[in-house]
Symmetry: C2
Subunit: 108 residues, 2 copies
Amino acid sequence: MSKIIITEEQKKVARYAKAMGHPIRMYVLELLSKQSCCYSGDLTEYLPIVKSTLSQHLKELRDAGLIQGEIEAPRIKYCLNRENWKEAQDLFRKFLKMDIEEPIQKCQ
Amino acid sequence: MSKIIITEEQKKVARYAKAMGHPIRMYVLELLSKQSCCYSGDLTEYLPIVKSTLSQHLKELRDAGLIQGEIEAPRIKYCLNRENWKEAQDLFRKFLKMDIEEPIQKCQ
DNA sequence: ACCTTTGTTCGTCATTTCACGAACAACGAA
DNA sequence: TTCGTTGTTCGTGAAATGACGAACAAAGGT
């Protein structure tokens, strides 16, 4: 019974999923997937959190590789990280398209 | 500047994403999407965690509504919760299909 | 009735998450 | 150079997460 069967792909999807695992971060991702970029200052206007908290969430999205910031002084412009966003899309698509259709397979 | 713009859909996706946000849970979901059901005893054989930890992960997937257990004494058979799995699929599909295609829109 | 098998629950612990406000840093504009 | 504006970092605290082993509960088989 050899252990360790968690694949790199599963770890990657889990990593992306974890980054998506908060309503605020989902909001930001959805916004960026619609409008190509945004400024965090504008976000604090509408989101029910203070700027330091937003900054943390944006950092998490950055660390997960889903977004990237570009200095446009005095503000910072955030966009999706296209490359990784595509990877995430593909991974989720692949994972989700494993449709469970009837007839149900036998167990094991 | 009215706050609170987080939609129920965003919360739902975030909830599902959070449940998927761990390699072990991704592994279980992927397995169940392929083979229709499994027994947690078999999982502990292969996964590098003890049964109490696995039990916690399965509970999280259950609480998120992604899987369900059925007693088949002395074991418990786990399957995907089809209804919610479909909902999760649809939500993610909807979210992910927001493709970012060229040409890039203007900011704001 | 007792034993065995199986999974959950409990207690513990270290780490991470999420939120806030205060302080700091960067950088144009006046 | 000083002053705003903007975003990050720091310090704090409460709560959640992830892991373990021990103890418990359920239920079938002997």
